[in-house]
Subunit: 150 residues, 2 copies
């Protein structure tokens, strides 16, 4: 956590997801980078909209599959934003050689310390981007996703 | 045009519109400020989504009511983004003591020099934010808008 290397990895992961969503036909907005005039925490990392279907992402990049912790306040902001938009909120997790995993923000579990977490097992079981498209009603089946050549 | 004063005025205008849209129940994303790592031109100034209804804004702030010119390429990017999102694109114009005026991007007129423009008369005739809400199907009438206390 923290450090210039992990921030840079997080930045690259965001850009990769932005590009993939754009390629799938979404209009995609990315939050201002940290250090810009606007506080990053006020915005989700990525908002993607396709034909009125909205997916909102908080992006986490990790070197290996491990439990990920989030602050409640950040998740509450994510859920508030998503409810206004009328969309679905995801924690998007990028792990080298495992690709992307998407966990609905509502599925986060509370820790004893009052934070929220995605467990290692949840990450292992989580769907990839095809799951998000199905969730949004943008594709009906995995076959259709494969048909898009992804 | 240009200069630190007009950029700062543009920045304040954007922030004002973001706040007003947020107050009206939209989830609002603002493009990264110029100078951030991401090229500002790749994103519209503001994207607002309420219950799956999407409004995309290019914001212009002017000291008085006057014809406003835009580059074709910027407008094409705005329209491409908006078509992907399944929304409506506006040029949002802020003029002191006149408030906000909204012109649909499709209503821009071509200049002889190959740019696009909003004429002074179009600005005078343009609706305010209530017009955008009606356009999006979020309110039925001006009365309902007034009922929201705006």
């Amino acid at each position: 956590m923290g450090g210039r290397r992990s921030r840079s990895r997080g930045y690259r992961a965001e850009r990769e997801l932005v590009n993939e969503l754009w390629r799938l036909g979404f209009a995609v907005m990315r939050a201002p980078a940290s250090g810009a005039k606007i506080k990053k925490a006020d915005y989700p990392d990525i908002v993607a909209v396709r034909k009125g279907k909205v997916a909102v992402f908080e992006v986490k990049s990790r070197a290996k599959t491990q439990t990920i912790y989030l602050e409640k306040e950040q998740v509450h902001k994510l859920l508030n934003f998503t409810e206004r938009a009328g969309g679905k909120a995801y924690i998007a997790i990028r792990i080298p050689h495992k690709g992307w995993k998407f966990i609905r923000a509502e599925q986060l579990q509370e820790t004893k310390g009052g934070r929220l977490k995605v467990t290692k097992q949840q990450i292992i079981n989580a769907p990839n981007l095809a799951g998000v498209l199905k969730d949004l009603g943008l594709i009906k089946s995995l076959e259709e996703y494969v048909g898009k050549g992804i």
